[in-house]
Amino acid sequence: MAGVRYMSATRVFGKDMPPAVDGLDLDIQDGEFMVLVGPSGSGKTTALRLLAGLEPLDGGRVEIGGRDVTDVPPKDRDIAMVFQNYALYPQKTVAENMGFALKMQRVHRDERDRRVREAARLLDLDDQLLDRKPKQLSGGQRQRVAMGRAIVREPKVFLMDEPLSNLDAKLRVQTRSQIAELQRRLGITTVYVTHDQVEAMTMGNRVAVLNEGRLLQCATPRQLYDDPVNQFVAGFIGSPAMNLRTVPLTDGGARLAGRVLPLPAAVRTAAGEAGLSELVIGMRPEHLHVTDGPGELTGEVILVEDLGADALLHVRLPEGGNQVVARTEGQKPPTPGQKVTLHVQLDDVFAFHPVTGARLAG
């Protein structure tokens, strides 16, 4: 049981390249499920490999359970890792795969056997599977064996590098909840890397959003959704993505599609202080409602994506032809070509600096 701490951890791959991980400061609590999320190239996997000891640090340090492990080899860090492609030893049986680390630790055969069986039971792996080779298993089973190999070690920290990305959509959703549930049960500190913001939101106690090697925000999923610190986090978290539009400022608000969208006084003040003539506003699709009464925006529906429970409307706004996505109930959605009026939940409109992307107070 241990927490993990990154202190100004930095990793540079090439002389002329920007750092893959740039001065990462992150404090992960004991027993916490921490998700590192970001687009490809954001440095999330490198950050995980720094913790595993598979990459050396070019600056800063990494601690596990209060111990500086910067120069400790991977095997002595008391961690276990689940790889994206599972990295099961192809010539070993499932049981040998799961017990390999224990064998290296010279754990007695009986004890090894007991722990392998226990992990297999925990993961619903049949006893008959234990004698098979990885090649004879389905993708889902391989994934569970990889999990089992990590569990058997009873490590201080689990590291998971996109462990669900090779599963089909249905299995991924199912396994997602299983892993989260298992982690809660075992209470082992877990660092989980994914590019999928849905995984990040549903699994993590906290989520760290990375981009271009930098940590942008680390908070609970709810906080990330309600209170993103900048335009990148706002656009990355939430599905479908937030509608972001650069709009000119006018008295009392922002001009969008020929209408004036009123903005809170705090935002106007902040924009005024920064001397801005335009800003970026963000509206989540779920905060735009089709209405029969008066609304802030009107436009023409050009595409309807029916998801069953709800539908996504792609609406073209007049003047500039900008498009926004609105989420509406699946029952009888408008049809393409139809004119609609959208009511905007003004309390939930975000405003960002057009250059730095930083959130403007509001």
Binding site: L54, P73, P74, N85, A87, P90, F100
Partner: protein, 282 residues
């Protein structure tokens, strides 16, 4: 309707005739390669009197007399060949595996230079080295010794073996090696438990190629050995008659000398194909 269903006819015929053409060509090439071998085997079963007739006779009473004659003198040559081949192949693998590892999985400094050096040793014609080799062997008291052949065949096959094994090792996914590192495997375990099981088909094909090269080697053997270490190819040379033609006898000896290579190749056929195409399929 009928017109429509008939239309693919000519195309199908073209496809068929194209395939048949390639098949015929493949057979012609294969037979062209095989005929000398077939002729050798057939002649080996002929009595000496029937071997030299022209045009060649295809109907004759097969006899094993030439084989008996060949086998009678072959004993020590065969032993030397087996010792030199097996000994050098084992040594090649023992040295080649760690060397390939140090040039691929955990590359040492200047690994490119090392790799190039290994292959550059194959560029010099062996004739150019035979003089110095002879002098060294003379002073090391290794002339006409089986140990000399084992050492030289090891040196001869090692560069190729290192290149082959290295390319197989590069195929091992890096995540597997990382998983092994996290699991606490040291270098020896990493090689023994993770890498070798995966590259084993490649090792088999490497070993097989070393066996074939060492088994067939003549130049070094004929220049550096006389009797104590003379190998099977030298026996074949000695079967080439000085006066008169004893073709059936020569063919019988050559057939016997070819059998081990053919048998080993046959047995290792599957892993040979797998090993040689290891880089091709993912």
């Amino acid at each position: 309707m009928t017109a429509l269903s008939l239309r693919p006819g000519p195309r199908r015929f073209r496809q068929w005739s194209g395939r048949a053409g390639w098949a015929v060509l493949a057979w012609v090439v294969a037979i062209a390669f095989f005929i000398p071998v077939l002729w050798m085997v057939i002649t080996a079963f002929k009595p000496e009197s029937a071997a030299e007739t022209w045009p060649p006779q295809f109907i004759f009473t097969p006899t094993l007399s030439e084989f008996r004659l060949a086998v009678s003198g072959m004993g020590p040559f065969l032993t030397h060949s087996v010792l030199a081949t097996v000994g050098s192949t084992v040594l090649v693998l023992l040295l080649g595996i760690p060397a390939a590892y140090a040039l691929s999985v955990h590359p040492v400094k200047h690994w490119r230079d090392g790799l190039f050096f290994f292959i550059s040793t194959k560029m010099l014609p062996i004739v150019a080295a035979i003089g110095p080799l002879y002098v060294i062997a003379l002073h090391a008291h290794l002339l006409d010794s089986i140990w000399l052949l084992i050492i030289l065949y090891t040196a001869m096959n090692l560069p190729l073996a290192i290149w082959m094994i290295r390319s197989f090792m590069l195929e091992v996914p890096s995540e597997l090696l990382e998983a092994a590192r996290l699991d606490g495997a040291g270098r020896i375990r990493e090689i023994g438990s993770v890498i070798l099981p995966i590259v084993s088909p490649g090792l088999v094909s490497t070993a097989l190629i070393c066996v074939i090269f060492a088994w067939n080697e003549l130049f070094l053997a004929i220049n550096l050995t006389v009797t104590n270490a003379a190998t099977l190819p030298m026996f074949l040379i000695s079967s080439v008659p000085q006066e008169g033609l004893f073709i059936a006898h020569l063919c019988a000896a050559a057939t016997i000398a070819s059998v081990p290579v053919i048998v080993v190749g046959w047995i290792a056929q599957r892993s040979l194909v797998r090993g040689l195409s290891m880089g091709a399929i993912k």
